[in-house]
Structure formats: C-alpha cells, structure tokens
Symmetry: C2
Subunit: 380 residues, 2 copies
C-alpha cells in the first residue's frame, strides 16, 4: 500500500532545507496558484493596474502572506486559512495611485514583519520583476536571492489530492469539448463556427468563460499538426484535428482527437488504429519507476513505420499547460506516483495528420486515464 505522500507545502519545506534558503518569494502565476489557490485569469492580458497578479511570501516559521491588488477577488479561491492576504491599492479614479509602489510598500512591510531583512530568499528568477529585486535590495542590502525555479518545477510535477480533483474538473471539459466536435462537425461549416459551438458547450457546463488553448484544423491543415481555427470551410473527406486544452480556475486539461468527415481511406483508418494502439501500450506501460524517455521510445517505436512525429510524446499538466515531466527522448527521470501526464502520439503524412491524446494520473501500480472521452474516428 502506498504511504501518505508529503503535501506540496511539506515538500517546499524540504527545498528550503536543501537549498539553504530562509523563505520563498514566489511570483509566477502558476506557482502562486499551486500554493495559494489564487488564479489570475490571463485571458484578458496583463492588468494595467497591477505590478503582478499576486506574490506569495512563504517563511515556514513566520507564516504565508499573499500580496495582491485590492481590486482582485480572491474569495472562495485561497486555500486554507494559513494564508494572510495583504491587499495593496491598485486602482482609483479620485487620486493617483502607482500600483507598483503600493505593492512594494506592502511587500517590504511583510519582509520586515517576518524578520527577513537579511534572509536568503528563494525566488523564481524568470518571474521576479527588476523593480521588486531592486526595491528589496535598496531597503535590505543584506538579502540574498537564490533561484529555486528548477526545484519548484520538480515539486509541481507531483500533485496533491486537491490538485488532482481540480485537474479532473478541467479534463471533464475536455470530454465535453471532444464530444461536441464529434457531434457538431459538418461539411460547409468553418473551423471557427465549429469552435464556437464547442466553446459554448464547454462554457455553459460551468457557467463561466473558460480560456481554451487549442488546435482546431481541418483538411490539409492537419498535416502541420495544429493551428488556430480559421474561416477554412470543412469539406467532405476532411480530417479534423482538435487539441483542446481548457483552463478551469487555473488548472489545465489537455486532450486531442482526430475525426473524419465522411468515409476515411483505409490507410487513414490504419493510421488511426496504430496511434490508438501505441497510446494504449504506453498507458499499460506507465507506472512509478518507469523512465520518461522509455515511454517516449515506446510510442515512437510503435509508429516508426509511419515516420517520426516532430514533437514531444507528452508532458506534465497542472497549473501550467506544459510542465514536468517532459516525455521526450533525452529525459531519463523516473515517473512518480501522482504525476499527471498528457500523452500525444501522432502520425503526419504529406497530406494529413492524426494525433490522439489522453491525460493519465500515475498511480501506485499503473496509471488511470483522466480524460474519459473515447477516441472515435468516424461520426455516427
């Protein structure tokens, strides 16, 4: 039987010890989501009224503070009662407000209250703005920054139970979307019109707008493996490749199916089956201790006779759409229980492309398929 895994906060504590840091200042939106539950909807671009969506200051003995703009709603989002939410003035119309200055003022106050004036602080160096590092060092010249991006990325690859629940809510949207493509794709419709129906069904199911990263291409466009939906009109005999990657409250789902409009050719049918079998074999093979590149190699070997697909075989999914572990030839890390992985083998010919994708959760003795839709090639 599986032992109870340490939670992500416990694993963060282990990073603190191993990296010799006193505290963490975490600023990438996906990491903030992971440790606080707070999700900033990126779909409308960066806010002109914020420096950052939010910043998380985690000092295990002194508690966790989240610095966030006062016009952001975080209720029903922030997980646990251990996080003290510190709001800064960000938008006003009656007096001038500089949100970056207000943010810095509150952050420096938190550093002081937590006695971090000469601390070693673990940061994500790609996601920390210059103004923040400069502001901290001006006030506290003895602070040292240590980049812990790689450690955090490795930590995020293994999910806690609440995260798996959230991912499953996102994969349910993949199921709705793939079912919608299969039912609604018709000759004469544009790719954009089809996507509009799909998006409407996904959003209606949760009663809110849902950011969706996607490939939705028809006919000859499928051989490129993807692309955004366009005004290209769906024709009899086309294949439609739909890779739907919705983000629900900060956790992503990922899925791909390819369908035929009308009767596919025998070779197309064979290719579809080959990919389905390859995917099935990989799913049977995955368990803790298997190397990521062994999964990649297995998929490529199965499809070798039809050529090599020029992309990864898969990737982790969580608060980022593509995260660790990468399922690629060079990555020999061992898969672990509670990793969530999307697998997406494909065949591309000179005239069409077929790709099938499922998301799986690595479990003690194997893996569980999280996307529940079936890969179906032909419409009823």
């Amino acid at each position: 039987m599986s032992l109870i895994q340490p939670t992500r906060l416990e694993r963060l504590s282990a990073i603190r010890t191993a990296s010799n840091v006193d505290a963490f200042l975490l600023t990438s939106p996906s990491t903030v989501k992971c440790f606080s539950g707070y999700f900033y909807d990126f779909e409308i671009g960066p806010s002109p009224f914020h420096l950052l969506p939010a910043a998380l200051l985690i000092a295990p003995e002194q508690g966790i503070s989240m610095v966030i703009a006062d016009n952001e709603s975080f209720e029903n989002q922030v997980s646990g009662s251990d996080i003290s939410v510190v709001q800064y003035a960000s938008y006003g119309y009656e007096t001038a407000i500089d949100p970056a200055k207000e943010f810095m003022f509150k952050l420096l106050k938190e550093l002081k209250q937590k006695n971090l004036g000469n601390a070693v602080i673990g940061i994500e160096q790609n996601a920390l703005p210059f103004i923040v590092s400069k502001g901290i060092l001006s006030e506290y010249p003895d602070v040292k920054f240590v980049d812990v991006s790689d450690e955090i990325a490795n930590l995020k690859a293994v999910k806690d139970g609440d995260e798996i629940d959230n991912i499953c809510k996102a994969t349910a949207l993949c199921d709705i979307g793939q079912s919608s493509v299969l039912r609604n794709a018709k000759v004469g419709m544009t790719e954009l019109e089809l996507f509009s129906i799909v998006q409407t069904e996904i959003e209606a199911s949760v009663g809110m707008r849902v950011p969706i990263m996607l490939d939705l291409v028809s006919g000859a466009r499928t051989k490129e493996g993807g692309g955004s939906p366009s005004n290209t009109i769906i024709q009899q005999g086309d294949l439609i490749l739909s890779d739907l990657t919705p983000c629900l409250n900060g956790y992503w789902g990922d899925s791909c199916n390819t369908i035929a409009i009308g009767k596919p050719t025998d070779i197309q049918r064979d290719h579809f089956k080959m990919i389905q079998q390859a995917l099935g074999s990989a799913i049977d093979f995955i368990r803790p201790g298997v190397k990521a590149n062994a999964v990649d190699g297995l998929l490529r070997k199965h499809l070798k006779s039809a050529g090599n697909y020029g992309h990864h075989s898969g990737h982790g999914v969580g608060t980022t759409s593509h995260e660790l572990p990468r399922i690629v030839p060079y990555n020999d890390i061992l898969l672990e229980e509670n990793m969530v992985i999307a697998l997406e083998p494909a065949i591309y010919t000179d005239v069409y492309g077929i790709r099938l994708e499922h998301m799986v959760l690595v479990k003690e003795n194997g893996c569980e398929i999280l996307t529940k839709f079936s890969h179906q090639f032909e419409q009823e």
Copy 2:
C-alpha cells in the same frame, strides 16, 4: 494646418536625450508591439517555452534588434526593415533547451555588438525579469539601468498614423459586436449564449480568434457596472450592459452600449438620454489643449442629478486596453492631437446600470468618433 508630428521612434530618441540613456531595452509586450509591430497573443497565457514574448534593444545609432523565440512567427508583423530579428532556441524535443539561457546568450551578444557594455540603458522596470538584469550585470558590471516607464507611457498616449489605422480595425470589431448584441439578445437566452453569438460574428469577420475583454451582464447585474457573462438567463424587462473590448493583432478597441429587452421604463429612457447627451457634450468639447479632468468634470456635471459613477470617465487605448491619458478628476494634463480616448459615462441606480462608451481620436480642431455604431436602447 497641422505640422507633421515626429514619429514614435523620433519621440523615443527625444526621451533618450532627455533621460541621458544610450539605449533602450524594452520588454513589456505592449511596448514591444508599439515599436516593432510584433504581437504575442496573451490569450493562452505565458508560454512555458519562453522567458519573454520578445525583447527590443533599441540603440539609435547601432540599430534595433528584436530577440524572440524561434518558434514564434513574426512574419507580416514586424514593421519596417530596420529591425534585425534575433531568434533564440526555445523548444525542442530531442535535446534539453533552457529558453532563458538561450535568450540571455543572444541578448548579451547583441549588447556586445552594439558596444553597450558600459551603457546607460533605459528599461521598463516592472517588465524586466530579474534573470535579465542579473545576467547583464554579471557580464557587464558597468551597465546602468534607468527606468523610463513613465516616459514610454506618455509617448504611447500619442499615436502615429499606422497605429490609428490598426486601432480603427479593432473598433470595427466593436461595431460588429454591439450590432450583434442588439440583434441577437432575446428573452430565455443566457448571457454566455448571447456572448457566444457575438464572439462568433466578431471572429468570423476577421477569420481568426480574437481576445475579447468584456462586461456582459443582464438585469440586476447591470447595477454593478460589469462582470463576465454567466448562465444568468435574460428576462423580459432586463437591461443588458455590454462593454466589448476586443484586441486585434495587439491593438485594442473599446465600446459600451446598454439595451433594454422589451419596453424600458420612462426613467430608464431618461437616464439613457442623459448619458447620451453627456457623452455628446464631451465629444463636442474635446480638442488639443483641453485638460483631461475638464472632460471628466463635464461628464460628471451632466449626470450629477443621477448620482456619481464610481469609476473613471475614460482612458487612452492603444497597445494596452487602458493607457494614458486617464480621464479622471486629478489628471490635469492637456489633451494632444492623435491621442485616442475611450469615454464611458454611466448612471448606476439601486436596481440597474446604464453605461455608454465611444472611442475618439483627438484631431487638430476637435475629435473624430472612431466607434461607428450608434447607442441604441431599444431593439427593433
């Protein structure tokens, strides 16, 4: 007759002189768009394979370089032949790639080639990642950074002709969207279903997905002034407030209308007319030399008898949805020719809200309305 205005690159040169900097390293997506034409579609969130969408190194005598990931398409986007595009490896499946390291390697090479090893470099300090400042200072300890964010923001408030053309393409999408709301809103439909039709019409008109920031609320939700469309069902007698802010290739449009489903009350009709008249008066009043807060004051004075709306009266629009000049009580800057401004007066009561918005271009002797739709309260 109006004199020919200096272009934004000429105005950037003036900032260089005034701020005593040798070169600029510009990293905010909206500034990169403004000076290069390159637009990163934020709608799918930050790419896990990039450090930044792109960075622009502008050293007037040594030319302009744009450092960008090799998996980003920039063709037909980058304006002018003066920009040398430097690509860095960002995604690969056969060997491990660290996009941040690759980015830094190329950026440092560009700094060297332009002899900027001991330069004073103007930056946008909110948008420069720590890893970049650290990487530059490790290699070139004599480099000095000077924040020029405010100067760049002021520069962007005044548009060149090509930018006005791009903004007009975005406002045309506002017109399509507002017409769609008026034609399609029906009792029994959810807000999300209505938005789906609106979005489909907007996207079909340009044959591509279009990021749309929006308020689309019905009934009692209108009194809050906005919100995302939900599964709330549109009822007879509801008002629908639709603030549609689409982004086309990096330039934004902005617009708001409020419509009645069925027959509005006399007071609602009066409120609608009051706002329409206030907006008309402000548009008549706007010309170069008028103070921003005089426009704000005029709008509030017109609507005073119905209470004060708790937000700005307007804002600049360009490569950011809200930019300078802010039309607010405290802002006494003088409006200039070629500023583009959205004006959005409103009345909110205890039971409903009405807001009307147009975008205008400040011209030599007045202003031109860029959004061409009419504010119409009742459906045919």
